[in-house]
């Protein structure tokens, strides 16, 4: 007896198992990031000094006299670039899914490959950014703002890595399934895509709330 609805949709919900599953998972992710954002808001509004760059740090960075404010020392251009990279990867992964639906496996490989490259690119840029912070002596413990910055971007980066693993699997070894169960494979790519878009979506909120405000 096979497990039903792994490929076809159940008539009453109109979904196949994995799709319902991934949406449930995303719902829990919403609550995870909801808690993170909620903490950010609470800490920021609760502590008048939350956004001020501590004096010692300002001195070490040679920021000159006067009060300095976060996110002043965050690298907006790099984060901007990263935003674009993620947006582009969202387009590519949805294109890879569309290609599969058009039965163009070669194109799928191409788009999915691009997605993975984008993700890796995102991680490299992130690494450069983190590295710059560390070399300036900016650590999570430096101030609560930086703590939040590292916690949120760090957890997001973990999600990106997760995405790379999943997408890498679907690009490489997992793609064998295209030969045996093409529909199921297409579904898997769709589901991976949903997750990947969510990672993008989180970043869309992280970027302005951490870097710009």
């Amino acid at each position: 007896m096979q497990i039903p609805y792994t490929v076809e949709e159940r008539p009453d919900t109109g979904l196949y198992n994995a799709k319902l599953g991934v949406w449930l998972f995303l719902a829990s992710e919403v609550m995870l990031f909801g808690a993170l954002f909620s903490s950010y808001v609470l800490l920021r509004t609760g502590d008048p000094a939350f956004m001020t760059i501590p004096h010692a740090v300002a001195e070490a960075l040679h920021l000159g006299e006067g009060a300095h404010r976060w996110p002043g020392e965050l690298n907006v251009p790099l984060a901007f670039l990263n935003t674009l990279v993620l947006i582009f990867s969202s387009v590519t992964i949805v294109m890879s899914w569309a290609s599969l639906r058009l039965k163009q496996f070669g194109k799928y490989r191409l788009w999915m490959g691009l997605t993975i490259l984008c993700a890796l690119g995102f991680m490299c840029i992130k690494a450069v950014e983190y590295n710059a912070k560390f070399s300036h002596g900016l650590f999570p413990a430096t101030s609560n703002f930086l703590g939040i910055y590292f916690a949120l971007t760090g957890l997001h980066a973990l999600h990106v890595i997760g995405g790379v693993v999943v997408n890498g699997y679907l690009w490489g070894p997992g793609a064998k399934m295209w030969k045996t169960e093409p529909e199921r494979f297409t579904n898997r790519v769709e589901v991976a895509g949903l997750y990947w878009h969510f990672v993008d979506l989180v970043w869309i909120f992280l970027f302005p709330s951490l870097y710009l405000l």
Binding site: I3, Y5, N17, L42, G147
Partner: protein, 606 residues
Amino acid sequence: MSVLEQEEHGSDERAGRHKEPFWKRYIFSQDHKVIGIQYGFTALCFLLFGFSLMLLMRWQLAFPGKPIPVIGGLLGADNAPGGIMLPEFYNQLGAMHGTIMVFLAIVPLAVGAFGNYVVPLQIGAPDMAFPKLNMASYWVYFLGGVTMFASFFVPGGAANSGWTSYPPLSEIATQGQTWWLVGMVFLITSSLLGSVNFIVTIFHLRAKGLTLMRLPFFVWSQLVTAFLLLLAFPPLEAAGVFQLMDRVFGTSFFMPSGLVVSGEVVEVAGGGSPLLWQHLFWFLAHPEVYVLILPALGIVAEVIANNTRKPLWGYKSMVYAAVFLGFMSFIVWAHHMFLTGMGTTISAFFQTTTMIISIPSVVILTALLMSLWGASIRFTTPMLFALAFLPMFGIGGLTGLPLGLSGSDIHLHDTYYVIGHFHYVVAPGTIFAMFAGIYYWFPKITGRKMNDFLGKLHFYPSFVFINMIFMPMFLQGLAGVSRRLWDGGEQYSHAQGGLHWNEFMSWGAWLLLVAQLPFIFNLFWSIKKGKKVDSNPWQATTLEWAAAPSPPIGHGNFAEVPVVYRPAYEYSVPDHPGDYLAQNDPTETPTETPIETPDKTSGKEG
């Protein structure tokens, strides 16, 4: 043939099965039944372990500062020099007792074990929707358990800041707290994997004709529970990450500025909020307590329907109540925080939601009590436990009311009254329901019944002793005795009046252990020696009894895909010979006709 026998003979006629190596069938199994048993066994071990921790603590409470006999010397000089338990060791035991009981014993038993084993069978599914995920969920839980267990052996011992781990105490605590946090992240992850699986399974893999309103109440309770796990656990994961960063990277999310610990100014950036942790913790932990009780209510409902030989009274209202309960449980959490300096508006809000949430519990309990009217009650062992559950949960639930009103909570907060309140719901409440479930589904799992005499020998003493432990707690609580006191309040004048109870309660706890011996013996003995039974020894109606006794391992539970023709509890149907009509029994009754297509349902659920 029982699972364990199969293991021994290593033979299974069904094609292809024998090709799977042992480790794939029984260790890294993807079969919901094996995973259910794995969960169950692990959870029972942790239940016993959590209980043992408490037995040690109860010695200290009964005889403060006296050396623990026999075992005292084995605990190590760091914990109990000369066999005398140190306060920090007491705190470790307390924190770990709470954590282990909640996250490693009861939830895995109620959801992991019973949910996994029974839900797919009750809905006529071949397995869970995502077998691999199911396996992962067990092993992540296992890792979490190992982490928690190992933390006793790290320098400074296990976490010692209560199961609530309130910062700043938890932030300045010993290394064990870090292990606790890592363990919690594992456990939460495991619950998430499990809950996704349960929800998809229940919505998608129901047998033909099994509409939502025909689901056994147990399945409903698991469905609501799964939603609680899904949506309430992530915030604690976030909080856990924050606390981990505070401890490991020196951030100060939960550390305000200007702390002075033991005369030293704490060097952190500061500006954090200790209350933020409490909000995130209780956002999880209040729904969590309903995770502890809902599956228990589900089991009790099954057993009561079966042993009263009549349909559950008010099945629909029970379902709506359970869904409503699940929904409301997300907006009552701050009733654990009344005394953190709350204003009138917010306190009024949370008091009101707390009173509202007590109503669905009242509805469910009332329905179960009303189900007894007109019954033909069989006092089987599972039924005894299920029946005892009702007044015990009643006491626990009712004592939640004075805690839910902030005014009366002022005096009762953080006293033994609270301990009494929740132990009545979880110990003679949930644990009794778990026992009922074990006795009830044992024949399904092994093909044999547990011994009835030993079962009764388990029940009656347990019932007496467990009340011996928890009833005096209310009196101590009313006197104002704080919880988590190493000496049980010996130094406080206001505690003197109830101090003599401490020894009495401890005797209750130790005797309760003795009362478990018949059960442990019965459990193992009956696997081999229990009375052999057919597939439906209780003459029950729900689908799990349509599967073979001890359904074979491997996906696919039923010889034939079952079709459902009627509601879950069609017992004593008028004008029908015999006193039950199974859900998959095609016999035509005037009221029921088969439904050919799966019903139109939505994913909407609270």
